[in-house]
C-alpha cells in the first residue's frame, strides 16, 4: 500500500512540543494548588515530589518556556511559508456536522482538504485557549518579579482568565483525543509520528488535498 507525506519535521516537532509541554503545564498547574497533598497523590510511589510547590513551579516555568517557543515557531514558520491549510474557513461548522453525522451513520462524507473541517475548528479553539493562557501566564510571571506589583482587581482578572481558559483547554484536549475513538480518524495517527499516512486514506477522505498534491507533483516535474 502506498504512503503519502503529510507532515514535515517542523509540524511534528511543534505538535509534540505543544502536547508534552501542555500536559506538563496542566499537571504542574494543578500542583499550584495544594491538591496533590490534600488528596494524598504524593503518597503514591514515585510521586512524593508532587506536593512540593517549588518543584511544580519550576516545571511550570520550564514547560511554559517550551510551549511559548513552539507556539512562536509555529506562527512564524507558517506565516513565512504562507501555509494556512488548518486555518478555519467559512462553513466549517456545517461541514463538520456533516462529517460527524456521516461517521456516526456510516453515510457519505463531504470530501475534505488537507484537514477536516472539525480539525480546523479544533485548531482554532485550542490555539485561542493557548494564546489566552500564554498571555495571562506571562503577566503572572512578570508580577512575580520584585519590580512589578499588580493591583488586586488586576490579579483576580488575570488569575481567573488563566484558570478558566485552562479548564476550556482541557475540554478541548479531551475532545481532541476522543476523536481517535472513531476508527475513521485513526489513519491520521501515524502521520503525527512518522509524517506519512496511507495514500488510500488520503485519496478517499482528503480528496481535495490529494488532487492538489498530484497537481503539484506534475508542475514540479514540468519545471525540472
Amino acid at each position: 500500500m502506498g504512503k503519502i507525506k503529510r507532515h514535515g519535521l517542523s509540524v511534528r516537532f511543534v505538535h509534540w512540543a505543544v502536547a508534552i509541554s501542555t500536559i506538563a503545564l496542566i499537571f504542574s498547574g494543578f500542583g499550584q494548588m495544594p491538591v496533590y497533598k490534600r488528596y494524598m497523590i504524593d503518597q503514591l510511589p514515585g510521586l512524593a515530589w508532587t506536593s512540593d510547590f517549588s518543584i511544580n513551579l519550576l516545571i511550570h516555568y520550564t514547560a511554559a518556556g517550551v510551549l511559548i517557543f513552539a507556539v512562536a515557531y509555529h506562527i512564524v514558520y507558517h506565516i513565512i511559508r504562507k501555509e494556512f491549510d488548518i486555518w478555519p474557513r467559512k462553513g466549517d461548522f456545517k461541514e463538520s456536522y456533516l462529517i460527524i453525522k456521516a461517521m456516526l451513520t456510516k453515510g457519505e462524507e463531504p470530501e475534505s482538504d488537507k484537514y477536516l473541517a472539525e480539525q480546523r475548528l479544533a485548531y482554532a479553539y485550542i490555539g485561542v485557549m493557548l494564546i489566552v493562557i500564554i498571555i495571562s501566564g506571562i503577566i503572572k510571571v512578570l508580577k512575580n518579579l520584585p519590580s512589578i506589583s499588580l493591583e488586586m482587581d488586576t490579579l483576580i482578572w488575570v488569575s481567573t482568565v488563566h484558570n478558566a481558559a485552562t479548564i476550556l483547554l482541557i475540554l478541548g484536549i479531551v475532545g481532541h483525543l476522543a476523536a481517535f475513538v472513531f476508527k475513521a480518524n485513526r489513519p491520521l495517527l501515524p502521520g503525527m509520528f512518522t509524517g506519512w499516512v496511507d495514500e488510500d486514506y488520503a485519496r478517499r477522505r482528503h480528496g481535495v488535498w490529494y488532487r492538489k498534491i498530484q497537481e503539484d507533483k506534475k508542475t514540479n516535474l514540468q519545471h525540472k
Binding site: 490534600r38 512564524v76 488586586m152 483576580i156
Partner: protein, 335 residues
Amino acid sequence: MSKITRRDFLKRSAASGLAAGVILSGLEKPARAYSGTVQYGTLIDLTRCDGCAHLDVPACVSACREENKSKFPHPVPSEQINNYWPQKKKEDWSDKKEIINRLTPYNWITVQKVSVEHDGRVVEVNIPRRCMHCDNPPCSNICPFGAQAKTPEGPVLINHELCFGGAKCRSVCPWGIPARQAGVGLYMKIAPQYLGGGVMYKCDLCYHRVTKGQQPACVESCPRGAIQFAAKDEIKQRAEERAKEINGFVYGDKENGGTSTFYVSQVPFEKIHQQLVRQKSNQPNPEAPGYPLMPVNVGNYLDTVNGLIAGMLAAPLAGAAVAGYTAYKKMKDGE
C-alpha cells in the same frame, strides 16, 4: 512553496516582535500607578518592648484583637465543619479564640519571649510577631486565585471573600504567618466535603486605619513606644540609626527579599532564632504553624523562578528566530 524575499521575511519577523513589545509595555502602567502613594513601614524596637510584663495580655495584642474583631472569621458551628477529605483533620480555631501565644485566625499578633545569652549576660527579649508585609510577597504572588495583593501603601491583604483556604500562602511564607479557619468562605458554597479548606487570616496592618491617615492599633496602643509607624524610607533609616546607637542588629530589611517591618535588637537575630527553634522543637507538635521563627537572611520563594525570567522572555524570540531560519533554508532548497 511561495517565494519570499529576504526583506519580506525581515518585515514579517519584525512585526511579530513588535506585537510582543506592545503586550509587555501595557504592563508598566499598573506598576507605575503606585509611585504616587506613600509606602509605610514599621520599626519594632526590641530594646523597648517588655512584653507588657504588667498585663495579662500585651497591649498590642488586645488592641489588635479589639480593632480587627469585625474581620475575624464567622464559621459554621464546629460540629458542622468537615474534615479535609480524605484526610482526617481540619483547622478549626473557633473554640480556641482566646489563645494569644501564637498566631491564629483570631489572633494576628503574638509576643514571643526568649532568653538569649550575649556578651556574657542573659537578655530577655520580647518579640511582637505578625506579618512582615514583604516587598515582593510570595504569599500574594503565588495565590492561584489572586485572592491576595500588596497595596500601594505597603500592607499585604487577603481577600476573605475569594480565598479558598488552600494555605499555600502559609507554605511559601518564610514565617508561616497566615492562619487558616475551616468552615467559612467561598468553599462552603461549592463542595465543602471535598474541596477547599477555609479562609486564611493575618495582620493587614490595620489597612482601614492606614488609609484614613491613622496608625495601626498595635502602634498606637504600645505604652513604651516600641512600635513606630512612618514612611518606609524614614523607618528604615531610623532602624539603621537605632541599631548603630545600641551597637545592635536589624531584621527584616533583607529577609525574604526585603520587608516593610524592621526589628532592631541588641542581641544577634541568629541567637534569637536558635532559641525560637529550641522552643518550637519542645512543643507537643513541633510542626504546628503560628510560631514564626527568625531565620536570618532567609530567601524569597520566588528567587529561583525569577532567575529564569530571561529564558522565559527569550523563548518567543528564539522560537521565531529558529522558525525563520528553518523556513528560509527550506525555501532556498526549493521545498
